[in-house]
């Protein structure tokens, strides 16, 4: 099986991973976009080499997002949102380099865990994944939503922000392609032309995190100095592998959660890191440190989103159904070559299957090596004067918003609207993190909730559907109870001190 590893094959993976990292690291450009623009190249490269390139882009693109998430507090891709929660506070403390290295190591761990799962259990897991009907998928989304409460510094305002995020995500048509009836709702009269399809995730995300942060800086007069306060990368907090002591279970669990969320068709890529972050916080002995620069939070987020890479390939290669938006593009690569994907794919194409596993393995290693040793150069970004960095970031945000749906100007306006909203949120103490989580998960929550009732016709189905539903309820109750206990504890501590 090693004859496929040619110099071309290798260089495509490494080159793909590098380009993917760059795409992931630039706010507004995503792994999906990297794969989309390179898809036509696979026609001339042939299947195995083409896949090597695309998988490199995929792994690199998912991983690169952690760089701006940590250094600038702007998630490079939607799946690195949860990385900002702890990564950016660490960078502000001057632990940027440490946070980046933790993220890179966790990414590698997540990637390798999911690859192992993909290699060993793909068809079995696909059979398990189809046990998840609308009901179980709704409960998974519900569980991920419970993190809103835990993430907020003021629970009432935080939950309100999260529910507001869900509300805003429902604006526009009830998407037919997800099972809706295509009717518009929540659209003010006269705005139907623009809001028919609602707001797109990526412009909302970079508006809330990117533009809003720059507006906040402008408001206080863009103080001189570097964009991250007192940053001396690596100077007063060195990275050592000791931070991973006691975290191997966290890494394993997060990697597996990411993998499993990837396997579930339709639940979506960004949910992977949110769910593994929720889990890490629920089971942590020190949940109060999450959101303030806790290394375990970065580990959960990054192991989770890289876990997605292997997971999302499971339904693609064993059911012919993509696990996320990026793998949906891989189907195109196969059909262009006249290769069918479906339950017989692995058996019919053992050579391609091996090539994919090897490509994923090499891509993960290449990602690790490239990123680990490039960190000091990444970190230079924060030494660029703000009056140069900010306009360039703004321009990149515009590019990202405009190109994400292949040239829709309304997406650029969305960026501005949510930039102003994000600034306003901090003024009225609403919280951006729960809002964006609500916004991401809202549409799935709706479809799975309504379809559960539509299909089964009873409210009790959420409790009686299967043992999986019961397990999910235990997790949901645990997460909510944990957040309430934590809030109480915090209040008591504030009362005493």
């Amino acid at each position: 099986m090693f004859e496929i590893i040619t110099p071309l094959f290798l260089s495509l993976i490494v080159g793909g991973t590098l380009v993917g990292i760059i795409f992931g690291a630039i706010p507004g450009m995503t792994a999906t976009m990297a794969v989309a623009v390179c898809l036509p190249l696979t026609y001339s490269l042939g299947l195995d080499n083409g896949l090597a390139l695309l998988l490199g882009l995929y792994v690199g693109g998912i991983s690169g997002g952690l760089v701006p998430a940590i250094l600038l507090g702007i998630p490079g891709t939607p799946s690195s949102i949860t990385t900002t929660f702890d990564g950016y506070p660490m960078a502000k403390r001057g632990e940027g380099e440490k946070a980046l290295k933790i993220g890179v190591v966790a990414s590698l761990a997540g990637g390798l865990i999911s690859l192992l799962v993909l290699d060993l259990f793909a068809p079995t897991l696909a059979d398990f994944a189809i046990e998840f009907s609308y009901v179980e998928k709704f409960l998974i989304i519900f569980f991920a939503l419970t993190v809103m409460a835990a993430l907020s510094s003021d629970m009432l305002l935080g939950v309100f922000s999260g529910v507001l995020g869900i509300f805003v995500s429902l604006i526009g048509v009830y998407d037919i392609s997800k099972g809706g009836n295509g009717e518009m709702r929540l659209v003010p009269p006269g705005l139907g032309y623009w809001l028919e399809n609602g707001f797109s995730l990526l412009p909302v995300l970079i508006g809330l995190f990117g533009l809003a942060a720059i507006l906040e800086q402008a408001e206080i007069g863009v103080p001189k100095g570097h964009s991250t306060k007192d940053i001396k990368v690596g100077a007063h907090s060195r990275f050592s592998f000791n931070v991973f002591r006691g975290q191997s279970f966290n890494l394993l669990r997060s990697g597996l959660i990411g993998t499993f969320v990837g396997i579930l068709p339709g639940v979506g890529g960004s949910a992977a890191s949110i769910i593994s972050y929720t889990n890490a916080k629920t089971f942590s002995k020190t949940p109060e440190r999450f959101g303030k620069g806790e290394p375990a939070g970065i580990m959960a987020s990054e192991a989770g989103n890289n876990g997605l890479t292997g997971g999302a390939l499971v339904p693609l290669l064993s059911l012919g159904i993509p696990g996320d938006s990026t793998t949906a593009l891989l189907i195109g690569a196969f059909t262009l070559q006249g290769i069918q994907v479906g339950p017989l794919f692995i058996g019919n194409n053992p050579g391609t299957w091996d090539a994919m596993i090897i490509a994923m393995l090499i891509a993960n290693i290449a990602m690790f090596v490239l990123m680990y040793f490039a960190i000091r150069y990444f970190a230079l970004v924060v030494t660029i004067p703000k009056h140069i960095l900010f306009p360039v970031i703004l321009m990149m945000c515009v590019i990202g918003a405009y190109t994400i749906n292949y040239g829709i100007m309304f997406d650029v306006w969305t960026l501005l609207i949510f930039g102003i909203l994000g600034w306003l949120f901090t003024k009225i103490r609403l919280e951006v993190a729960p809002f964006i989580i609500g916004f991401i998960l809202g549409p799935s929550a709706e479809v799975y909730f309504v379809k559960s009732l539509e299909s089964f016709g009873t409210w009790t189905i959420f409790f009686t559907k299967s043992w999986i539903a019961i397990v999910l309820w235990v997790l949901i109750v645990g997460s909510i109870a944990g957040s309430i206990l934590m809030a109480r504890q915090k209040r008591r501590m504030e009362d005493h001190g």
């Binding site: 623009v37 009432l156 305002l157 939950v159 309100f160 529910v163 507001l164 869900i166 509300f167 429902l170 048509v173 009830y174 809706g180 009836n181 009717e183 518009m184 709702r185 929540l186 533009l211 720059i214 507006l215 402008a218 408001e219 206080i220 007069g221 863009v222 001189k224 703000k386 009056h387 140069i388 900010f390 306009p391 360039v392 703004l394 321009m395 990149m396 515009v398 590019i399 405009y402 190109t403 292949y406 040239g407 100007m409 650029v412 306006w413 501005l416 102003i420 003024k427 809202g442 929550a445 709706e446 909730f449 309504v450 009732l453 539509e454 016709g457 009873t458 409210w459 009790t460």
Partner: protein
């Protein structure tokens, strides 16, 4: 018993179910916030006055205004040379430069020069990248 938990969803109106539930939850939360934070909300007039007073108005409003102009001009300018992305290029260069100068503190020629270079090279490189290797549409 069975009737109590039974629901029938009419597909034609099913787009309203979830928004209604969410709107209700949102309303309840809003009422709770208003009750709990009534003092703070009552004092919000002073709060906004302070915010407005402390704001670096030229930089904040200037950045907003420049962004607004930038977004508004991109498409009309691009329409002069359809589908070439020149609208993006020709608007981004002055935008990056103007915003940079706005954010800058000591506006000496020495300080403006690197910004000028970035404002010229940055958008041009991005434009080239998207138009040729990536082959994506820009305004």
């Amino acid at each position: 018993m069975g009737n109590l938990t039974h629901v029938t969803i009419n597909f034609k109106t099913s787009h309203l179910i979830f928004p209604t539930i969410i709107a209700c939850v949102l309303g309840v939360l809003l009422v709770a916030i208003v009750i709990r934070d009534r003092k703070r909300i009552a004092a919000s007039g002073a709060y906004w006055r302070d915010t407005w007073g402390a704001m670096d108005k030229p930089r904040f409003l200037g950045a907003l205004a420049l962004t607004l102009v930038y977004f508004s001009l991109m498409v009309p300018v691009g329409n002069i040379w359809p589908n070439t992305g020149l609208g993006f290029l020709l608007c981004s260069i002055p935008y990056v430069l103007a915003t940079g100068i706005l954010f800058m503190h000591e506006r000496t020629p020495r300080a403006i020069l690197p910004l000028l270079i970035v404002a010229l090279v940055g958008p041009t490189f991005v434009w080239w990248l998207f138009t040729y290797p990536l082959f994506l549409t820009l305004p």
